[in-house]
């Protein structure tokens, strides 16, 4: 009886957790176009990320208020006037790897298809991700562009020629096995 219980509880745990990797300290950095007059850049290193290697599912959760800027006033304006973090406190990405190879010992460039939800707007996207698995750490890196206009982020006319519409996003995540 005891043995059956152990086996069963093992079965209960294993499918749920065995292939899931997670991090609560992934980093998202963004930079508005370098050619713009006002360079806006910020880093958030409290990003939550989960990847399930069994089915290739991927999820990111970004607390907007955790973006740190060098200029405090810029951080305040980012939250209050642009991304409206009081109304949309987080951005999320959910999707899955289009094709996930079994062997990740060397970094693989893979495509993730999914939905970005940011500033209350959902957008389907495909993102190139470099993924590797070494010593039970799943390392994922990505770099892609977002357009403010795609996510209804309003740039006032008075600063329109100073701020870029294109935002370069860099993601670095080291996920450990759950």
């Amino acid at each position: 009886m005891k043995n059956i219980f152990i086996v069963l509880s093992f079965l209960w745990v294993s499918p749920l957790l065995a292939q899931k990797y997670m991090s609560r300290s992934a980093e998202v950095y963004f930079l508005s176009d370098k050619d713009a007059v006002e360079i806006v850049e910020a880093t958030n290193n409290q990003v939550g990320a989960v990847i399930d290697l069994e089915n290739g599912a991927i999820a990111f959760q970004i607390q907007m208020r955790a973006f740190h800027f060098d200029i405090a006033l810029m951080e305040e304006h980012f939250n209050e006037n642009y991304v409206e973090s009081y109304r949309y406190p987080k951005a999320t990405f959910r999707g899955s790897f289009v094709d996930l190879p079994k062997d990740l010992s060397t970094p693989q460039i893979l495509t993730v298809a999914g939905t970005m939800e940011f500033h209350g707007v959902k957008k389907d996207m495909e993102i190139e991700v470099s993924l590797s698995l070494k010593e039970s750490i799943l390392q994922g890196d990505a770099k892609f562009d977002l357009l403010c206009s795609d996510f209804d982020i309003e740039i006032p006319k008075i600063v329109a020629d100073k701020l870029a519409n294109t935002i370069q996003v860099t993601v670095k995540a080291s996920l450990t096995k759950l």
Binding site: M1, I4, F5, L8, S9, L11, W12, P15, L16, K20, M22, R24, G48, A49, V50, D52, A57, I58, A59, Q61, Q63, R65, A66, D70, I71, A72, L73, E76, H77, N79, E80, N81, Y86, R87, P89, K90, T92, R94, I158, V159, L178
Partner: protein, 284 residues
Amino acid sequence: MKYLIIFAFLVSSSIAAQDDLFSLLGDDTSSQEVRATFKGTRVINGQSIELPSKGDLQFVIEHRFGTINSGAYELWGLDQSQMRMSFDYGITNNIAIGVARNSFQKTYEASVKSKLLKQKFQNGSPISITSYHAIFANSIHWATPERENLFSSRLSYAHQVMIARKFNQSFSLQLTPTYIHRNLVELESINNDYLALGLGGRYKLTKRVSLNAEYFHQLERPNENFTNSLSLGFDIETGGHVFQLHITNSQGMFERAFIGETTGKWSEGDLYFGFNISRVFGLK
């Protein structure tokens, strides 16, 4: 019974396995501080709980024109004005120091402002508390130079505790208990100490414009000639600047003057139009 437990385990596992990956990440916002309770470091005349961030130098220039009821000859007050300019610097995110000069009685000021408690979104303080301490020194010529005059007679002090809550994105309210001391007063009938309770609030009309109101109730009046200060105004924010336009019955722009020595009466139209312009310079 045991089988039932195992069965329950199995059922719950199959549900959990399909559950969203997001449930693993949780939703922890407990450590996040509420920011931008007010747009500026001043509600109107009085200090707000905000202070310049670490390494930021804030320059504020303020004007109060003459009374609006002074008529066309004075261009409704615009011919006369009092001004104040101040520099405030954030030593850390919680402590700022400042110096200022007022044209009223040619008064110099030095101040320390510190954040004592910060409102959190969840699982934390529901209010923010900031303290403000200022010393004022007037530099006008002595009224009676023939007698012995002490420098200490020029000094007065203000101590304030600002208690504020940002109720939602638009609405913030602040209570400001205030204690003011003057070393020397003009008449025996004027008290050296006075206590007041301030009430200030702002309501955001758009992302960058808010309506502000401020009232200081004198709990212990220095003298019956002085009235309570009431001000109404707008904050307009444009990038690194905050413009504040207002109407008030106080012409003085430092605590001793507007809390203790306001003489204008709203009922008689002794109102002053004024503005504050603040600009932040990053020095780091």
